[in-house]
Amino acid sequence: MLYDNLIAPFADFEFMRRALIGTVALAFGAPPIGVFLMLRRMSLIGDAMAHAILPGAAIGFLLAGLSLPAMAGGGLVAGFVIAIGAGLIARSTQLKEDASLAALFVISLALGVTIVSLKGSNIDLMHFLFGSVLAIDNSALILILAITSVSLVVLALIWRPLVLDSVDPGFLRTVSRAGAAAHAGFLALVVLNLVGGFQVLGTLLAVGIMMLPAIGARFWARDVTGMIVAAIASALIASYVGLILSFRAELPSGPAIILVAGFIYVLSVGLGPVGGLIWLVLPRRHLEA
């Protein structure tokens, strides 16, 4: 019974195994990025960037049909163009980065939907927006694994300036120029992970596996490392349970995974040991000193 529900789907079906490997890889790459987005008060930037990659992926789709390399490549280019463009506008005018990004990403979204509708049907559009976790082929799997590996290595390299740029950017500017580079590298990681996620979860839900576990992790740990561990753990649980749920209940897998992640998030807000709502109801007595 337990075997039938928890293991058999993956033992019996190759597409479930692929889906599991893909989502597990995503669960290692994206949540740490999400933790830094949250701590840098950029939680909505992931959403904006997810929209920004759409026209690139759409142009890839227009030229080569539903081909992963074309769509992923186009998505990467579009994401980088928007990220760099927003950064340049922010640095050379009085606009802040969030404002210039907000302006560019809606333009990008409108452009993307227009391009998809030039050629594709509504079903193509749905595939774009919500992905299809059950149709991951080898090239998609390799892409996701490569993105996760690059993402973890680069994050380790830019960790120190990234933390410093988040806490005390003014100080970092007086000792080093690494802040701008770390910020740019970090935005590149956001784009990379969204492109990795959009094949599985779609452009609209890719940001879910990045942000939901990360935001919930704030209720489980007090330091950055602990938050990242908690975020990865909850993303792994969401991936596994979401896939089982979608298999058993015949739900679309992307939304199923994100809904489980959302459920974990709600649990964290309610019961998390670091400032969860439950501690409002069960106040503990203050300490002596």
Binding site: L164, D168, G170, F171, T174
Partner: protein, 261 residues
């Protein structure tokens, strides 16, 4: 238009120049906040920068720290001291909700020697512990910065300056909103740095404190009013003059004629 320099910075034959300001104009949107400042800060000087609100003290420090490009003129670091600049702004742009502890914040002072990747080694742990002990925060190493009081925060930032081991230290209103004991202890650190031959510039508004502890003073009111020995600079005549010089930008100001040499 030009600033009147009452006496030059302390003549000490043995001291090399640390900082040379030449016809320096700093400001925002072309409006000068520091206007035509000339002078030399000697290596190892302990210089107070005094002036009314809006006199350009913070702007001057931002310029020296390299955060603001001069509208005209130049700031040159001279001399053989290449230990970098330690800059403590008046209102540091610190995200106090970020989950990081006192120890890690102080460790950031080691950036110049450790950079991007090299690990914090045994000797560094000693440096960090010593810096934390010097500001009296021993026992607070693991405390998240969000739980510190204003005074403890300033102590922590001083500890980071100690770890930074800078040759030129810029302190913008370092004792504002601190109680007497904290100010006295931090002033002790400033004097220790002076004794170690570092060059220290501090923007201050407490004239009595400056008279008691700072040998040299620059009195600034957008334009330099006086620069030299503290006793000669902080006369009531000079202070009144500084007070009279207006604070507001003149929106209709003409382009400055002095700038075109």
């Amino acid at each position: 238009m030009g600033g009147i320099l009452v006496g030059n910075p302390l003549k000490r034959n043995e001291a090399m120049p640390q900082l040379r300001l030449q016809n320096l104009t700093l400001g925002y949107d072309r409006h000068p906040a520091v206007h035509h400042l000339d002078g030399v800060v000697k290596d190892g000087a302990l210089l107070a920068v005094v002036g009314p609100n809006g006199a350009g003290k913070s702007t001057l420090f931002k310029g020296i720290a390299g955060m603001l490009k001069p509208l005209a003129g130049s700031i040159k670091r001279e001399g053989k001291d290449d230990r970098g600049v330690g800059y403590l702004p008046q209102a540091p742009d610190i995200d106090r909700s970020f989950p990081i502890g006192v120890y890690d914040m102080v460790a950031m002072g080691l950036w110049r020697s450790r950079g991007l990747l090299s690990g914090i080694a045994g000797k560094d742990h000693h440096t960090i512990e010593a810096a934390i002990a010097a500001v009296g925060l021993t026992g607070f190493e693991a405390r998240p910065i969000g739980t510190l009081s204003g005074g403890q925060m300033q102590r922590m930032l001083f500890a980071r300056l100690i770890a930074q081991d800078a040759g030129l230290i810029l302190l913008d209103e370092p004792f504002a909103a601190l109680d007497a004991r904290t100010s006295a202890e931090l002033l002790g650190l400033v004097q220790r740095w002076h004794g170690e031959g570092r060059t220290v510039l501090a923007a201050l508004h407490d004239v009595d404190l400056v008279r008691a502890a700072f040998p040299e003073t620059l009195l600034l009111a957008r334009e330099p009013v006086a620069w030299g020995r503290t006793g000669a600079v902080l006369t009531s005549e000079n202070l009144n003059k500084a007070q009279r010089m207006c604070e507001a930008f003149d929106e209709a100001a003409e382009a400055c004629a002095v700038a075109a040499e």
